[in-house]
């Protein structure tokens, strides 16, 4: 357990520091609110609508598809580096992995998930 002591210390220091900074700035900082200062910062344009905007579900779909293919890329990088050592087995493994993704892509395509307007 003793090996964890520095870690705990770090946590404590971080917490104390963060808390202290916030407290000090709230206590010491000058407060001079005006209506302009209280509105959310939107790069100078007028604020419109409520706080909760429902994004279209299609964004989620796109995002999740992006994650899937992004991870594909992340996995392919180390493989290319070790390509020679892994040899045929590596090639076959990566081949089947990409094949699976191709199947998934086909499925997604046929199901119409790639079309924005339908």
């Amino acid at each position: 357990m003793s090996t964890y002591v520095p870690l705990f210390l770090l946590f404590i220091v971080a917490a104390v520091l963060a808390g202290a900074l916030f407290t000090i700035s709230t206590v010491l900082g000058p407060k001079n609110p005006t209506p302009e200062k209280m509105i959310p910062y939107e790069c100078g344009s007028e604020t419109t609508g409520g706080r909760f905007v429902k994004p279209s579900v299609k964004f989620y779909l796109t995002a999740i598809l992006f994650v899937v293919f992004d991870i594909e890329a992340v996995l392919i990088y180390p493989w290319t580096v070790e390509f020679k050592n892994l040899g045929w087995i590596g090639l076959a493994t990566m081949g089947s992995f990409i094949l699976m993704l191709v199947v998934a892509l086909l499925y997604v395509w046929k199901k119409g998930a790639l079309e924005w307007e339908k």
Partner: protein, 510 residues
């Protein structure tokens, strides 16, 4: 490359490949129905259901084939261990899971078109969940275990919420998803602590490290125990043991009935497989397996609570589906008794647990299947009142339902009776007399609510003007019921062989 490895993994591979093919085929298929159509045969179910069942049964057949070849003879199959262990234990559960999945797929083939839910996504979901369940049953490492668990669960979350238009179904899915993720997080946390304490993620390594651990000052024993508690709680969520069962009735009731069947059967079996692997494989030594300082009393308490509470509550339900949900919780309690008994009675007790899961699978599939059969479009059979007089109007369906209920109640000579008998035998053999007695008394309580269904079917007439359930006509459901019914009787009259197989499978993990 070696063929032994591929043969060893063939059940997994066959099911996965079949799933991929079916998925693509479904995407390219022209069979689409708008959900207002009245044509029950136009949708994708008519092809996919059979395809799914065949794929899963092929997985079961491959598992059986490897069993006869002998998994220990397959060279190279151990090269994927401990992530995927190919032993008789894995094969047994692969078989049971594939069987349960296939029967659930057949039920879906009748249910989904009947209730205007006919969308093809259901079938790949079943298949990939089963793949996850099979990985879960074969995992000998906490990492692959978690992978399998999530693969299985994600599919099931989607299947629970499959009735998108229904609020109850969505509610069920959200509940199940939240609590399921919570359980997975606990499990993961336990795994992380275990890794911290022992430096291993593979179960055998953990076991060894725990065995070598000196209890006392400066050891990580406290960490191990915390981890064990977290893992047991996580698994208890998955097998829906009281007091971690709160999600179960809502999820089971809100889900479409084939999903409920699948959850009650495959998910539960896979969770128990993991429980056996972890409790015996990782926590089987170093005092953790003892009554004085280990998991047995915890699991025993869970078992007693699960059986008693579930049975008492089940008797008060007004919905048959909800009653069956509670009954499935109660059965988890009976299995937990067997799990406790493994600490002393060893392979025999574990074999009895596994045999019980097999009998439970066929009886539960049958009971839910019969409930599905009782309802048709617009008149799904849910409550007791719906079933009034069914025995007279549709004797075959009533007879089938009665058979499965009697099996669940444990009346000889059905499969369920032998399941209970072996568990009781194992727990008496382990000297756990109070548990055995509580189990038996609980089975008396359970007889009450199973009988109530029979009472409504045979001894009540529907109130005049009350809606009555009209049985559907579906070859798929009928086939599933016949298969399950034959298995219930065969396992009830000649249980020895399958018990021996289960014991042999159990010995593989010891």
């Amino acid at each position: 490359m070696n063929s032994g490895l591929f043969l060893g993994l063939s059940p997994l591979l066959v099911v996965s490949l079949g799933g991929l093919l079916l998925m693509v085929a479904e995407a390219f298929s022209k069979r689409r129905v708008d959900e207002t159509s009245d044509d029950r045969d136009a949708g994708p179910s008519s092809e996919l259901s059979l395809g799914t069942a065949v794929t899963l049964l092929a997985g079961a057949v491959f598992a059986a084939a490897i069993w006869f070849v002998g998994p220990e003879k397959l060279e190279g199959a151990s090269s994927v261990a401990p992530w995927v262990i190919v032993d008789r234990f894995t094969l047994f559960f692969s078989f049971v899971l594939c069987l349960g999945g296939a029967l659930a797929a057949l039920l879906a083939g009748g249910y989904l078109p009947e209730h205007r839910l006919d969308r093809g996504e259901f079938y790949p979901l079943i298949i990939f969940s089963t793949v996850g369940a099979m990985i879960l049953a074969s995992a000998g490492d906490l990492l692959s275990l978690f992978l399998g668990l999530e693969t299985m669960s994600l599919g099931v979350y989607a299947m629970v919420g499959f009735r998108r238009a229904s609020l109850r179904s969505t509610e069920a899915a959200v509940k199940y998803f939240l609590l399921g993720s919570f359980a997975a997080a606990l499990l993961l946390y336990g795994g992380a602590l275990l890794y911290g304490a022992t430096g291993h993620t593979d179960l055998a390594g953990i076991r060894e490290a725990i065995a070598n651990m000196q209890p006392g000052k400066g050891s990580n024993f406290a960490l191990v125990i915390t981890a064990a508690v977290l893992i047991i709680v996580g698994l208890a969520f998955k097998v829906s043991a009281v007091p971690f069962h709160m999600w179960t009735p809502d999820a089971y009731e809100g889900a479409p009935t084939p999903t409920t069947t699948y959850m009650a059967v495959a998910v539960k079996c896979a969770a128990f497989a993991t429980m056996l692997r972890v409790l015996i494989g990782a926590f089987g030594e170093g005092g953790l397996e003892s009554w004085a300082a280990g998991w047995p009393p915890v699991v025993a308490l869970l078992a007693v609570l699960t059986m008693t509470v579930a049975n008492l509550v089940a008797g008060q339900q007004e919905s048959v589906k909800r009653m069956l949900a509670y009954s499935s919780i109660a059965h988890a309690g009976y299995v937990l008794v067997g799990v406790v008994a493994t600490m002393r009675a060893g392979g025999d007790a574990q074999g009895s647990v596994m045999f019980y899961l097999l009998t439970y699978t066929v009886s539960t599939v049958g009971a839910f299947g019969a409930l599905i059969l009782m309802g048709s479009r617009g008149a799904e059979a849910v409550s007791y009142e719906d079933l009034a007089g069914v025995g007279k109007r549709h004797p075959a369906a009533g007879f089938a339902f009665s058979l499965f209920l009697l099996s669940l109640a444990g009346v000889p000579p059905t499969a369920g009776f032998f399941g209970k008998l072996y568990i009781v035998k194992a727990s008496i053999g382990a000297g756990l007399y109070p548990l055995a007695i509580i189990l038996l008394l609980n089975s008396v309580i359970s007889a009450y609510y199973y009988l109530r269904v029979m009472v409504y079917m045979y001894m009540r007439e529907p109130a005049p003007g009350a809606p009555i359930a009209k049985p559907m006509r579906s070859g798929y459901v009928a086939t599933a019921l016949v298969v399950a019914g034959v298995l219930v009787l065969v396992l009830g009259l000649w249980p020895t062989t399958s018990l021996q197989i289960a014991v042999e499978a159990a010995l593989a993990t010891r």
